[in-house]
Amino acid sequence: MLDILNILLSDSFWAASLRIATPLIFGVLGALLCEKSGVLNLGIEGIFVTGAMVGWMAVWLGLGLWGGVLAAAVAGAAFGLLHAILTVPLGLSQHVSGLGVTMFATSLSYFTYRTALPAVSSPPKIEPFRALDIPVLSDLPFLGPVLFQQTAFTWLALLMVLLVWYVLNRTPLGVALQAVGDNPDSVDAQGLSVYGLRIGAVVAGSALMALGGAFLTMSAFDSFFFGMVNGRGWICIALVIFASWRPGKALFGALLFGAFDALQVRLQTEVGAVVPSQVFLAGPYVLSIVALVIAARRADYPRALLTPWFKGQR
């Protein structure tokens, strides 16, 4: 017990929690934006892969770290546009389209990586984002290591939480976006474009998802390898429901998740001899299902989620 307390009080534990949470913050925010507008985006898993691959490759080709971030976002937006066209004006099954986008984005990313780098035995590395070193702040006890020695990419994620919260709750655009996910007819009656709002939300949300993937190759690690996303996208879909589609709670959910993951890695070294390591490996996925089951009963789904809307058809 004392060991767990020691872990929970250490700054390295909380720093790791925020680091592990960062890709999830991007992913949950992205999924939240899409779903708020009424579109489930199961393309998330593939868009994570694309973000990871494109971001890494852009840096490897010499576009610089922020060039990589931009490239990943654009690639994510492109797959988001594909999903949006299929599900919004064409009104096709959001489930099947999302899975199709995941398969397409994943295989295209893998194919491109393999074609660009045939037969590399160990994946080439890039110089990833470095931990910030802010005078005074980074040297603060506890807060310094936890908050101010993260990379700029993590700060971008935190900034995005604020931005998404602000847009959704404090701007006319946000009001329209929430309305289009609840009652598209009312939005249409006001002369706003249902298609435009939904497509825009899915494209922007997908760009955010891709940043989650890019964080993996450009900040958490320094190279791209197959299978590295490993279900993180699906976990985000569960976390959105847990967060009841609210950016603040999404941040909380992702941090809780990051903390649990950081804890299990540390516990694994403590009790690894007694408990098989697979118990810890399965932890995040089990936790996601548990969170989903707890949240599902009182989940307040956007009312028009999964329902296609056609202009001039009531």
Binding site: L42, L82, L86, L90, G91, L92, S93, H95, V96, S97, L99, G100, V101, M103, F104, T106, S107, L108, Y110, F111, R114, T115, P118, N230, G231, W234, I235, I237, A238, I241, P276, Q278, L281, A282, Y285, V286, S288, I289, L292, V293, A296, R297, A299, F310, K311, G312, Q313
Partner: protein, 360 residues
Amino acid sequence: MIRIEPRPATSTAFKLGLPILSAVIAILGAAIPLAFAGADILTAYGEMVKGVFGSLFAFSEMLTRATPLIFTGLAAALAFRARLWNIGAEGQLYLGAMAAVAIGAGAIEAPGYILLPLIIMLGCAAGAAGMVVPTMLKTRFGADEVVTTLLLNFIILIFLQYMLEGPLKDPYGLGWPQSAPILDEGVLPTLMARMRVHSGLIIALVAAAVAQVMLSHSVWGFKLRAVGENAPAARHAGIGVNRSLLSVAIVSGGLAGLAGVSEVAGLKGYLTADLSPGFGYTGIVVAMLAGLSPMGVVVAALFIASVFVGADSMSRSMGVSSYLADLIVSMSLLCVLVGGFFARFRITRTGSSASKTGEA
């Protein structure tokens, strides 16, 4: 001004032509990544065709590859008919395979006519259990089965690693994480000498035929379709929706479990963590190409298997990444999805003068 209006009826020719057209477009679309990879396109297509039809062995390899896809395609098609989104066939496949080696790799010794049916039934039951859990979470707690089945795939794969390093590990396996081989009595016999195609294919074809009859001509199939088309209306008509969902979950999971049994008892002989290169996920594409019809699944599985075997063979001889096959498969899914739009709606041009107000 362009207007979208529902088609009054979709002709049979359209329904049949749609997946074929989608498949053709996806294959032709592969020319772009092929060109990108610097391959000679015509030679590449030639190699792909040769890889499937070039020899009896190549053709039997294609049938071998189609076998698990028929099972997972059926698993997806039946579940999707009831609007039960089983995306967990990959995990259920491994549950079936684990059950098969748990009972068939020396746990009991029995003649083939006892051991083989036992392996098949247990594998079925394990796969079914893997789908019953998320279905109960859906009907009792409202937990979305898409997310739970997807996450369960990862949990089951981790459980598999544990089993292959622990209880199921082959003591004579030189330390590799693999199970002991299935006893000779428990092996599904091959169909042709010196070929790998095995009697799992026969079971798959029988399963498809039974599924087709049950879906089209039984009360069970009627209820399942009613639940899928309009669950509230079905409930109103006195159909036990939850019971219907649970029964289709058992069948769907059981079929996915059979895919694992067939791979391990018919092809590999023992279980490793790379038994399936995503057969569960590919089954979704198979089901969609088949228009969720069980007999259509057989045709679609043969097509998808041809893509994989043909592209694999081409990539070996020409040095193009074998991810090309996955690319073609995902493109054919997107194409058939878009095609579904044109089956349900038609786009008409309305007079430009009347459309200015946007009234429809």
